[in-house]
Amino acid sequence: MKRLLVLTTLILIVSVVLGACSAKETPASTAPPVAPTEASAPASAPTAAPPAAATPRRGGQLVVGSMTFPTGVDAMATTQRASWMPMTYGCEGLFFATIDLAVEDALVDTWTYDPDALTYTFKLRSGVNFHDGTVLTANDVVVSLTRFAASVNGSVFSKLMESIEATDDLTVVLKLTQPSAAVPAMLAAPNVPAFIVSAASIGETPPTEPLTSFACTGPYQLAEYEPDQYVLMQRFEQYTPRPDGPEWYPDEIKIVPTNVSNVLNAVATGAIDVVNEFPIAEYTLAASNPDVQLLIAPYAKQYLFVLNTKGGLTANPLIRQAVLAALSPEPILQSDVPEPELYDLNVSWFPPGSPWHSDAGMEYYNHQDIEKAKALLAEAGYQGEPFRILDYQTTNTPIVIEQQLTEAGFNVERILLDNATFVQRRTQPEEWEGFSSGGSSYTDPTVFTFINPAFPGWWDTPEKQEAIERLTVEPEYADRKAAWDDLQTLMWTQVPWVRHGSLAQLMLASKRVQDLQPTRITMLYLQNVWLSE
């Protein structure tokens, strides 16, 4: 014990000396240099992975780590993107959203759009096999898209769909309620869960009842799903690829949960091969680790604070305006991002270079005014009721938001929840006022998750509907862009959420993963990816 005391005293002395002698520098100056990022790069140019030197090798099990583990396997039944992963590798849509956010044909062979007749005609590829041994027919598409339209994710599409029918085995005719050139983008998986599942798999199951298994046309089929443990997808030997389509090299894809505390070690040791949405707070450690590959896609993710427009305090627009006045975006972004190069203060939901890039609403952005916030609270008749923030503890932003709102006079109650409880509770309008969320990148404004009126927050006003109508209906890009500008401005005047800015998306891969490309969207693109051992 005496020795322990002496040792303790020594440790104390040494640490005080170390502290006194530490140079006054932040980790940024001692951290490895930031990999070159291109904040103004066009949407098609995230930082690429180094080219592979060897011939791609078929086989192996690719282990994908997911910070938010799928709570089910039915993508149509949830807005939680992590739960879209099994269908992302097991299913295909009529259209495909590429890694560059473009839209390409997938299960369609050819298609036509007649704006006068308000009709899309889709000719399907023939001989496409389902996992259950059947062959893709137009009826499967009709059943799948009808279910998609009825789901929360398909609400914008459902407003357009007058009817859908199979006119023969391989022809689907979609009649619209109004003209829209955006249908392919609305159906481009995996950016939207418009996956084509066999009619037999779906049966009569509505999207409110999640499927526990599915038969699709994708390169992998669902083998096992153990909640909170793993999802195992195995190669579908009878897969019918698109002509000139990508290669799928691994024999199996296994999705496992991971967490912030051990993800870097898990990838460095090879226990996990790939992690999409690698925590940006871990950037400094990952950049200096020789056992991993770090890929960066700038201007990929959006950070926002979603407000409840349907219930609670924030159903009052004045309260939402007060929130906007209370918040300062830069400290919020800094709380999660160690390097200033990895975040950007901007209003645009689309990166520079994208045809949808817009500065509309800039005049409302980043103008913190505590006195104005207090005045708005007084005007709203705020009496100190709890302002409830749901915090599912994967980001530091709620802590900073809590402080900023408190300084503005809000009585903040930050409610700590696990992910499953959070997903459930945010569907209850009387249970919260705000939660932090992250958005991805999108191919088209119409597939932008947050404008879905069914998304928790439930933003749905006549002005918004009018702007979306124009966005959906107008055939010319210039008119659609004007509608998008108006909609983006509405996001700042009606304040359904407060967008803080954009962040780079980081991906982490083990050394044996080859040809992985950084992506701006949530889904991991594993096309052409192979394992060197």
Binding site: M1, K2, L4, L5, T8, T9, I11, L12, S15, L18, G19, A20, S22, A23, K24, E25, T26, P27, T30, A31, V260, S261, A281, E282, T284, L285, E330, P331, I332, Q334, S335, P338, Q393, N396, I399, V400, Q403, R414, L416
Partner: protein
């Protein structure tokens, strides 16, 4: 005898140093509002500042002053531990005395104690918190329950020795009742053992609270705590050592000084414990 013990204690450098360290740590926790800023104020613009004159222990990932976090973090650790120690030793002493004096009670009570002691402390605590739910009151209850058995055993041992002593036999032969004997002879004799055991219980409690906070259970995660600070610093320790070091040092000092004091007390009071 008490005076002799106190003299021995005062002459022991280990006791002096440990009491001093304990005084510093607990004094800092008590005086936190006066000697430290806010432990919860965040300022991401100054995140990961190394120790400096402005922030003696540096800042963490949210720009919080780690000095304030460490000072305030001592409050739940030391406050709850003091309360738990008081309760567990008091209840443990009563149970130990009863078990040591009455053989039938011994059979029942010690089997319960053995059962509780078969579980690793943290496992038992996590189970109790899982059933009772998180919060300070359940943490106090859980820690008290797990710390009663060692106290009961120690006091039982002391009771068994004193029960057979001549003075107790003499008192009994003079017609003294059980209650009088327990209060007049047994309890005072067990006091020394209880005193030493209380330091061990205190140290165990501080460590358990830190461990539970590290795991994210027990205390409200928004409450500054040493364990929580250590848990948060895991990701950053490689390039911001100060985010973990000072909370760790605080735990070492608090636990080490109490254990050293316990050792010194045992020597001074000449107690056989455990």
């Amino acid at each position: 005898m008490l005076r002799r013990s106190l003299v021995r204690l005062a002459a022991d450098p280990t006791a002096i140093v440990s009491m001093l360290l304990l005084l510093i740590v607990s004094g800092a926790a008590l005086l936190a509002p006066w000697i430290a800023g806010s432990p919860t104020h965040v300022d991401p613009a100054i995140q990961f500042q190394p120790p400096s004159r402005t922030h003696p222990f540096g800042t963490d990932q949210l720009g919080r002053d780690i000095y304030a976090v460490v000072v305030y973090g001592g409050r739940p650790a030391l406050g709850i531990s003091a309360l738990v120690t008081l309760l567990s030793v008091a209840i443990g002493a009563i149970l130990g005395i009863l078990a040591g004096y009455y053989s039938r009670a011994d059979m029942i009570l010690m089997r319960i104690v053995d059962g509780l002691m078969a579980f690793p402390m943290l496992v038992l605590l996590i189970g109790l918190l899982g059933v009772l739910g998180p919060g300070v009151s359940t943490l106090v209850l859980g820690l008290t329950i797990v710390l009663i058995p060692p106290a009961a055993r120690v006091v039982r041992s002391a009771t068994l020795v004193v029960k057979e002593s001549a003075m107790v036999e003499a008192a009994r032969s003079l017609g003294a009742g059980d209650f009088w004997i327990l209060i007049r002879y047994i309890a005072p004799a067990a006091l020394s053992a209880m005193t030493v055991q209380s330091t061990l219980s205190f140290a165990s409690s501080v460590l358990a609270i830190a461990a539970l906070s590290f795991l994210g259970i027990g205390l409200d995660p928004n409450t500054p705590s040493w364990g929580r600070t250590l848990a948060d610093s895991q990701r950053y320790f490689a390039y911001a050592w100060w985010t973990a070091a000072f909370a760790g040092i605080a735990i070492v000092i608090a636990v080490g000084s109490v254990m050293a004091l316990g050792d010194a007390l045992r020597d001074a009071l000449d107690v056989k414990v455990g």
